[in-house]
């Protein structure tokens, strides 16, 4: 069980996240939608402490982190349980595809090299990139880089996977292969929180869709309810624009 209570993030005094409450059940796949600049990405980044929230509590299993009092150890513990997939892939440029996946297994999980390499090869096979194991990011297409990025996040075995607009930076030709991989991860009932603008994808994959606007959660529910019978006026307007 993952729960977020009263999560607030202000940039220069202006709240970007305004007392967010969110509960995610184990194995639940939640998609966050909303206009740009409404704090969707900031929510994900705060859950991983890439951005530090000022207030609120994040609970993942038995780990409870109070944002106002989070210590270094709290932050590292939280990061170990949340795997992040970046919009711009953010693969380690000095490491091969396989080494990218091995990195956290060695440094954070303390596994030995051979074990980490074996796990990385397993994951690469799942992403369909086994023949790219020794390629550096610069030699991979955008789609391949993002698949490695997803593989890197999968390998950790995190309680929660965070996807921050994973296809937004991709050329259209690569979007399909990345969505296919995310679907495959979702099929295993991996708990995940996805920010995306791909509405069709959201409808297919989500157990629940959360609509955010102005730093708050405005409406949430199963895809069919939220997308086909929206109640909030802002959501209606948003859907009419993206549909």
């Amino acid at each position: 069980m993952i729960s977020v209570t009263g999560l607030t993030k202000r940039f220069d005094g202006a709240p970007v996240l305004d007392r967010i409450d969110l509960r995610i059940a184990e194995g639940e796949r939640v998609v966050v939608i909303g206009p740009s600049g409404t704090g969707k990405s900031t929510l994900l980044r705060c859950l991983n402490f890439l951005d530090r929230p000022q207030e609120g509590t994040i609970r993942i299993g038995d780990l409870v982190v109070d944002a106002a009092r989070a210590s270094k150890a709290d932050i590292l513990a939280l990061r170990r349980r949340t795997a992040f997939v970046f919009q711009n892939y953010a693969l380690f440029a000095n490491k091969t595809a396989q080494e990218n996946i091995m990195e956290a297994l060695i440094t954070v999980q303390g596994r030995d090299r051979a074990e980490a390499a074996a796990r990385a090869r397993e994951v690469l096979a799942e992403t369909g990139l086994q023949d790219k194991a020794d390629s550096y990011p610069a030699a991979l297409s955008g789609g391949q880089q993002q698949r490695v990025g997803i593989g890197r996040a999968m390998a950790i075995g995190a309680a929660l996977m965070l996807f921050d607009e994973p296809t937004s930076a991709l050329d259209p030709e690569w979007v399909g292969e990345v969505l296919t991989l995310i679907r495959r991860v979702a099929e295993r009932r991996q708990t995940m929180l996805i920010v995306t603008h791909e509405m069709q994808f959201a409808r297919e994959i989500a157990d629940r869709i959360v609509f955010m606007d102005g730093g708050r959660i405005v409406e949430q529910g199963p895809p069919a309810d939220l997308l086909d019978a929206p109640r909030d006026a802002r959501l209606k307007r948003f859907l009419s624009r993206v549909a």
Binding site: L76, A77, N94, V108, A139
Partner: protein
């Protein structure tokens, strides 16, 4: 105008070549020490250790702000009068120390700039998986900063090689000192200093070739 004494010059080459190992040893030892010291200072400048920051800033400011020759004299002739255990230090050690301190100040700034030049996404990716600051620096940021800083650092190494000639002023008979002694005996100053100039030149050109190889190696991961 008189003709160059070519035979004398050719005869001098093997003599002065014998001092190349000492030149390379001084520059090499100083380079290794300066790289370590500079990396530590650069990392400090990036993460800002309270209480240490002002010390690093002061160090960099002093060693960039004063001439190398003045620093060498201060260490070799000056400090032993104040600090007794330094009287044991010979000219070679003093030169290595001086070169290290002087160039580490410059190199710290280059490395700091190179660290700042590593894309923000690399820091975030390392943080997001829960790596510690030290792991992130050592495994992700510094290796990438090295590639950015390499051309500048090789330039400093070249400066260091040339800087070893100042060891002669500390009584070390290195390549320059040997040339000076030879010239004093033969009175053929132009010939002697021309040979030593050409030898430094060849040494530096050889390094430039090495730099190209180093850059190819460091760019390996970035080939499309």
């Amino acid at each position: 105008m008189r003709a160059l004494d070519l035979d004398y010059m050719l005869g001098l080459v093997p003599v002065l070549l014998g001092y190349v190992p000492l030149t390379l040893f001084m520059a090499g030892a100083a380079m290794v020490a300066a790289l370590i010291l500079a990396s530590l200072m650069a990392v400090e400048r990036v993460v800002r250790v309270p209480g240490l920051d002002w010390l690093v800033i002061l160090f960099i400011s002093f060693f960039r702000g004063t001439p190398l020759l003045v620093q060498l004299f201060l260490f070799y002739y000056g400090l032993p009068q104040v600090v007794s255990f330094l009287t044991q230090i010979n000219g070679v050690t003093a030169a290595i120390m001086g070169l290290t301190l002087h160039f580490s100040a410059y190199m710290a700034e280059s490395i700091r700039a190179a660290i700042a030049g590593v894309d923000r996404s690399q820091w975030e990716a390392a943080q997001s998986v829960g790596m510690t600051q030290l792991q992130m620096m050592r495994r992700i940021i510094l290796p990438q900063a090295t590639r950015i800083a390499a051309p500048t650092l090789v330039n400093y190494f070249i400066d260091m090689i040339k800087g070893t000639s100042l060891a002669f002023t500390l009584g070390v008979t290195e390549m320059m000192g040997a040339a000076q002694k030879e010239a004093a005996g033969s009175f053929l100053y132009f010939e002697a200093f021309l040979v030593v100039a050409v030898l430094y030149w060849i040494l530096v050109e050889a390094l430039n070739q090495g730099q190209k190889r180093l850059e190819t190696f460091l760019n390996k991961a970035y080939a499309r």
